[in-house]
């Protein structure tokens, strides 16, 4: 599985980073960077937590 960002929608809240710092971070310009393309089963619940916490639904799992 993968995490997909809807860029125009992301407002850079970074709540996702807080939920799953292993998987993503905001860079110095506040752009969200996914640190792992492919999400292993072991990280699935982490990925879900990150996706869920985004208040503007800019993330989804594909």
């Amino acid at each position: 599985m993968k995490i997909v960002i809807d860029r125009p929608r992301c407002e850079g809240h970074g709540l996702c980073e807080e939920a799953a710092p292993q998987l993503m971070h905001l860079d110095d310009d506040g752009e969200l960077v996914l640190d792992r393309e492919e999400i292993s089963d072991a990280d699935a619940s982490l990925a879900n937590a990150a996706v869920r916490v985004c208040p503007v639904a800019a993330l989804r799992i594909a």
């Binding site: 850079g12 709540l15 807080e18 710092p21 869920r52 916490v53 503007v56 639904a57 989804r60």
Partner: protein, 378 residues
């Protein structure tokens, strides 16, 4: 509490209920999970209702959340009407009852109203937002009653939709929530964009169906095509009236979100211990953090870590986007960490206890960095 947990019921299908369900699974609960919600919709993002959803042209999806993965039995469009804590039964308005071993109360709150007039619109749920969008299409003149973040966001959305908007506020808008410095920044931006602000004591809504007016403390009357109030929220705890658990409409919980060992209360109706006493913090990330902690505590008891909540607040209105970590309102002038007054900036206020509040204005910044900054270690 060593009996195995077979059945968990979550009442309320907002972000707190959804997060609780997810977190129960993550804590290892693999039994029967049921979520009851009285809205017909799957869980959605409420903060989007007063922001992107009011503005976004044809994009009507900014509130949608990804589909849940907790595998719960979801009952939608049905209200829980009562709770028997001795028999561990939740009764539903359709006459059925749900037995549980553990219960999560996540029924959120509803908009406080000033009247029963159908002309008084409020914005709490998706249906309210769709109604409001529909009414804005004709660009009516609008009076918004309530100078808090929600009233200001609604006013901003109505202005952007091309309406003439008057905001009625008790004192300076946002001063109670943000403090004088930041309130001033927002009010200036609002006035620049053409908002009319009327300060008054308590405003009332009068009239009859078809003819509603806002009456100010000094007797002045405001009339408009559309009256929207945003005057606070009322926790949905009526259905728990017979349980003895509700105090002044609120559910008091411990540092793990528990009302009693088998019942958690999370989200808007729960008052939990904070450094500033026990309080409700009816905000998005508060609901999520509370739900995570409480779900773990229901499954693992005292082994589960208590809540260490650091408030995170954001708002978008009148072209300004604010993010704040730490307790609000803030008094006095900030120290500018980056930028300066009038532009994209990063500010910090220090409190007497050594903690701080960090605020980013029109400035994209990772929340962890904002948190470090508020703690003075950034």
């Amino acid at each position: 509490m060593s009996t195995p947990i077979k059945r968990v019921v979550v009442v309320g299908n907002g972000i707190a209920g959804l997060t609780a369900a997810d977190s129960l699974r993550e804590s290892g609960f693999d039994g029967e999970l049921t979520i009851v919600g009285d809205e017909p919709h799957p869980a959605y993002s409420r903060p989007a209702l007063s922001k992107a959803l009011l503005l976004d042209g044809d994009d009507m999806s900014s509130h949608e959340l990804p589909p849940p993965t907790h595998g719960a039995n979801e009952i939608r469009g049905v209200r829980a009407s009562g709770l028997d804590v001795e028999r561990r039964l939740v009764s539903l308005e359709d006459g059925t009852a749900l037995p549980y071993d553990r219960l999560v109360i996540a029924t959120g709150s509803r908009a406080r109203r000033l009247s029963d007039l159908p002309e008084e619109l409020t914005l709490r749920g998706l249906d309210d937002a769709l109604t409001l969008r529909g009414r804005l299409a004709a660009s009516p003149s609008v009076v918004v009653v309530g100078g808090g973040p929600l009233g200001m966001e609604i006013a901003s959305g109505c202005l952007a939709a091309g309406c003439r908007v008057t905001l009625v506020s008790q004192g300076t808008p946002l001063i109670v929530q943000l403090g004088p410095y930041l309130a001033d920044v927002f009010v200036k931006a609002a006035l620049d964009r053409g908002l009319t602000v009327v300060e008054t004591g308590g405003a009332r809504l009068e009239g009859q169906a078809g003819d509603a007016r806002v009456v100010l403390e000094d007797g002045a009357v405001l009339q408009a095509g559309l009256v929207i109030s945003a005057v606070g929220d009322v926790p949905n705890t009526d259905w728990l009236a017979d349980t003895g658990m509700v105090e002044k409409g609120v559910l008091q919980v411990d540092s793990r979100g528990l009302v009693r060992p088998d019942i958690a209360a999370v989200g808007d109706p729960a008052a939990f211990p904070t450094p500033y006493g026990r309080r409700r913090i009816p905000l998005w990330s508060s609901a999520i953090e509370q739900a995570k902690v409480a779900a773990a505590a229901l499954v693992r008891g005292d082994e589960a870590p208590p809540l260490r909540f650091q408030p995170y607040f954001w708002t978008e209105q009148f072209g300004l986007s604010l993010k704040a970590v730490g307790y609000l309102p803030v008094q006095g002038e900030p120290t500018y960490v980056e930028g300066g007054p009038g532009g994209s900036s990063l500010m910090r206020w220090s409190h007497d206890d050594g903690s701080g509040t960090a605020v980013a204005l029109n400035h994209r910044i990772p929340i962890p960095r904002l948190r470090r900054l508020s703690q003075g270690t950034g």
